[in-house]
Symmetry: C2
Subunit: 293 residues, 2 copies
């Protein structure tokens, strides 16, 4: 391959190299070749830090990215220290790990030198109200594609979520409900979902689509058990929703948000629910064990 000088421009302005020019060549931007975590920094603590790091180290190799032990922590710790030094104790921290620069087109470089990016974002202000008062969901027309290889991974290919989220503008809907083409329930756009059906509590299995959410895992493995409520991960068809007694969505920033209503472009599957006693019990169980929820 011939060696040529690398030229780049951003919005017409020629770039003279440096950090921005290197970022422009990143496989994260080129292909979405990477993963991310969004974590809550709550009163100077990241309550689910171990869980987020566990998922990141476990899933990165599925995209060919071998993260050296401790490499993410060595970036995250000085980053959090800098936030603290500026008096910022509560925000969202986003970690992006990409496959870095290089390779021949889609072929990865050998070895991949991961790029680890830490970012801050404001904590959503409406969380507390959403937890106590519940939320409404938009039932998205956009359908999640089935892909068993990528299912579960919180990777950077998120056009599905972008297109689904832009189906509505009204602040009436806090999140969207996502189905597969064969009407199986997957998740909300930025949260997982749990439903109390005629056969008890369940959350959609994520073998074909969806994200293996940190809060979903915590609920399945710990919180439901602490509340002595049985729960399973299984295929859930949308038709089951009409018989549901309670529904909530969850993620590691917002915690558990009870679902009061589901609306969509057809009226056929509209739902109205009350905040359930078991949802409240699970919220309380989570709060007892983890700060900030």
């Amino acid at each position: 391959m011939q060696q040529i000088k690398f030229y780049s421009s951003i919005n017409g302005e020629l770039s003279a190299g440096g950090r921005a020019a290197r970022l422009l060549q990143d496989r994260g931007l080129f292909y979405g070749h990477g993963l991310f975590e969004s974590m809550a920094l709550q009163s100077a603590q990241v309550p689910l830090l171990a869980e987020h790091l566990h998922r990141l180290y476990e899933d990165a190799p599925k995209l060919g990215i071998n993260l050296q032990a401790g490499s993410v922590e060595s970036c995250l710790e000085p980053f959090i220290a800098a936030l603290m030094a500026d008096g910022l104790q509560t925000c969202v921290i986003k970690i992006i790990v990409t496959a870095g620069v290089g390779g021949r087109g889609y072929q990865s470089p050998t070895p991949i030198k991961p790029r680890i990016i830490c970012l801050s974002a404001p904590m959503p202000e409406d969380m507390a109200a959403q937890r106590t008062e519940g939320v409404s969901l938009w039932r998205c027309d956009y359908r999640l594609p089935v892909n068993p290889v990528l299912a579960g991974i919180k990777h950077l290919n998120r056009l599905d979520q972008v297109l689904a989220r832009n189906e509505w503008q009204s602040s009436e809907f806090a999140d969207g409900l996502m189905l597969t083409a064969d009407d199986n329930l997957v998740e909300a756009i930025s949260a997982n979902i749990f439903v109390n059906t005629e056969n008890g509590w369940a959350t959609p299995a994520i073998n074909n689509a969806g994200v293996n959410g940190v809060m979903r895992k915590l609920l399945l493995e710990q919180i439901f058990a602490k509340a002595a409520i049985p729960v399973v991960s299984r295929t859930i068809n949308a038709a089951e929703l009409t018989e549901c007694k309670e529904i909530f969505i969850c993620n590691s920033i917002r915690g558990l948000l009870p679902v009061l209503a589901v609306r969509g472009s057809s009226h056929e599957f509209n739902l109205d629910l009350a905040i359930g006693a078991q949802t409240k019990m699970l919220q309380s169980c989570l709060r007892d064990n983890y700060v900030g929820f």
Copy 2:
């Protein structure tokens, strides 16, 4: 939403803002919310410039990105002028258009302010040999998901291609053959595909998966007609490959590459072919009309 200072770090190094920090917040990196074009600059010309720009302006709105008329040209022209001024007359030019910065999570900002990035990359050196001597393909185990909304668009969500391309390391295979889960042929990893079946020439329809390649379109709409060879776009099952007389792959950088062999992790569908007379005729027809192929 509370306003906080934006903090970021790259590989542990805190960023003091500026261009790199803004790029870190780009929806292209966060979500792959954008599109790209790879074009050949051949002897100071971009032979398919109009076709690339047409696709970009047509597909960007499908991702909610409304590109102002002329906005890409106004970035591209000074970029090409800079290459020329440095004496670079032949290379690959990549244009990336992203949804820029902003929005609330997956929700797009209103309005989207697109970011237009121009990059140079070296022209592959092995093209001329591949055109005359043909190439071998790896039949990928990875299956392309079915998604009618995103099909056709050359968007930045390319993990499918990354994972498929990393199935083999050997230089024996120039590209990979990609199928859907139900064994329908879609394309090569970085090219479209045309096959001469028992029923004549065909290329896979791209309603459910695949990229609406500039070279594919040119072949379907002009080059086959100039060569007086009938061709259709239709569903093609992998089983039809065993009866094929000629196969070639194509894109707007490499032109038409005859396929001599297909191999995969099972021997069941291995194929061996000769370079066909009609493939040569199509190559020659393309070369007569467009410089550099």
